[in-house]
């Protein structure tokens, strides 16, 4: 299991692995927004939480199809399925590797990019907390979507259509917690719901994804 995690991390940072792609996309998106809506910091500060969360979500989506598609193409997935590791474990480890190479870097980079959107300083802590709580759900839901579409040629678009609606609850509660944190309101309820979605996704979706994979590699 650890070997699989290390392999996926190593593959991600080697050429063509896609590490940094999500971050670069996030950076470009955040830089483009002020060009679109104008440089007034009052407006930017108001929309910053939403922009940052939507940006993180889309950046996450970019690399989802690689989770299983590359292993499927070169035959590794068949061999892993016959190896003495449970399919559920493979899914969980690969989703974790995706989070470590996408969600975690996004979380770390977000406060720096938030400055570009003139987000108030008291929001930075909440930004990191909400992304840290929410992005694992994005990776695990995404792994489920990737498992459903793994055998399809150019399944990336279908994957986005499947996964984006499932991202909505995470987006709502993530952005809401952040907004409330900035405005000094009570954050407990949306934050608990955000954490609950993540916990549920991490606990249940590996089983669903493993079942989907078993059907797709037939």
């Amino acid at each position: 299991m650890i070997a699989l995690l290390l392999r996926d991390l190593r593959l991600a940072v080697r050429s063509g692995g896609g590490f940094g792609l999500g971050i670069a996309f996030f950076l470009i998106l955040v830089v483009l927004v002020p060009f679109g809506v104008g440089p007034e910091s009052a407006i930017l500060a108001r929309i910053a939480p939403g922009i940052l969360w939507v940006g993180a979500l889309l950046a996450c989506l970019l690399s989802l199809d690689r989770i299983f598609a590359l292993d499927f193409e070169d035959g590794s997935l068949d061999l892993l399925a016959t190896a003495p590791v449970p399919m559920e474990g493979i899914v969980a480890v690969k989703a974790l590797a995706h989070w470590l190479t996408t969600g975690l870097p996004l979380t770390i980079a977000a406060p720096f990019l938030a400055v570009l959107l003139s987000m108030p300083a008291e929001g930075m802590v909440w930004l990191v907390i909400t992304l840290l709580l929410g992005t694992p759900a994005l990776s695990f839901i995404g792994a489920f979507g990737a498992a459903l579409t793994v055998g399809l040629k150019r399944g990336g678009l279908l994957l986005s259509l499947l996964v984006l609606p499932m991202y909505v609850p995470t987006l709502i509660f993530g952005a809401e917690t952040l907004q409330r944190g900035i405005n000094g309101l009570a954050t407990t309820t949306p934050m608990l719901l955000l954490a609950g979605i993540t916990a549920g996704a991490v606990a249940l979706l590996p089983f669903a994804a493993a079942a989907a994979l078993r059907i797709n590699i037939r």
Binding site: I2, A3, L11, G75, D78
Partner: protein
């Protein structure tokens, strides 16, 4: 008995391809699967590997002793030869990859990234994975594709050593490997198209 198959029927893409397949594979035995293209050699091996369910029949096999090698080698192009092998060694809980490197003559290539290997070298790396797995029963699907004559001999030698050590191998191949092995011709087991028996399953896999 390492592998016992009786009255097995397999499907490929919802179509019945093989039915009534029965055979035994004992320890120390190598068996060659023969038959024209499309007869169902790959389907049979994938069914034995547990990648797809059998329609009917029984397979008695210790999956903890079974290793499968398909058409694709499962090699990661950006990892080196050693990194690829070490990964599989860790997955299978074995440690020693040197005998495998030795057996398939990969010594001079150990630090080369897999995308710089030739097709035959990649295949040798893929076959070396079987040795690394430490499993007793091997199922190989067209293992000699893109291998040169010397490498085929290397492969045949490896199979012989494996069988002499009490292992077993089931090999789907079209060429003569140059050693005594039992041959299982799948042609008599070709299923007569009986779509009706499958239609009532009521599941349209083409939907996705």
């Amino acid at each position: 008995m390492e592998l016992h198959v009786s009255d097995l029927a397999c499907t490929r893409g919802g179509l019945l391809v093989l039915s009534g397949v029965s055979f035994d594979l004992a320890a120390g035995q190598a068996m060659l699967l023969r038959g024209p293209n499309g007869i169902g050699k790959t389907t049979l091996l994938r069914t034995l590997a547990g990648l797809q369910p059998a329609l009917t029949g029984t397979i008695s096999l210790d999956r903890e002793a079974f290793a499968y090698a398909g058409h694709a080698d499962g090699i990661k192009a950006t990892l080196t030869v050693v990194e690829n092998l070490r990964f599989w060694a860790k997955i299978y809980g074995t440690n020693d990859i040197d005998p495998a490197i030795e057996a398939f003559n990969l010594k001079g290539l150990t630090d080369r990234a897999a995308h710089n290997l030739s097709a035959g070298q990649k295949r040798r790396l893929g076959l070396a994975r079987l040795l690394v797995s430490g499993r007793r029963i091997w199922a190989l699907d067209e293992p000699t594709v893109s291998l040169d004559v010397a490498s085929v001999q290397l492969f045949a030698q490896t199979i012989k050593t494996h069988c002499d050590a009490g292992g077993a191998a089931l090999i789907a191949t079209h060429i003569d490997l140059g050693f005594e092995a039992e041959v299982l011709d799948l042609t008599p087991y070709k299923a007569i198209a009986t779509d009706a028996s499958l239609d009532d399953a009521g599941f349209d896999e083409a939907f996705l």
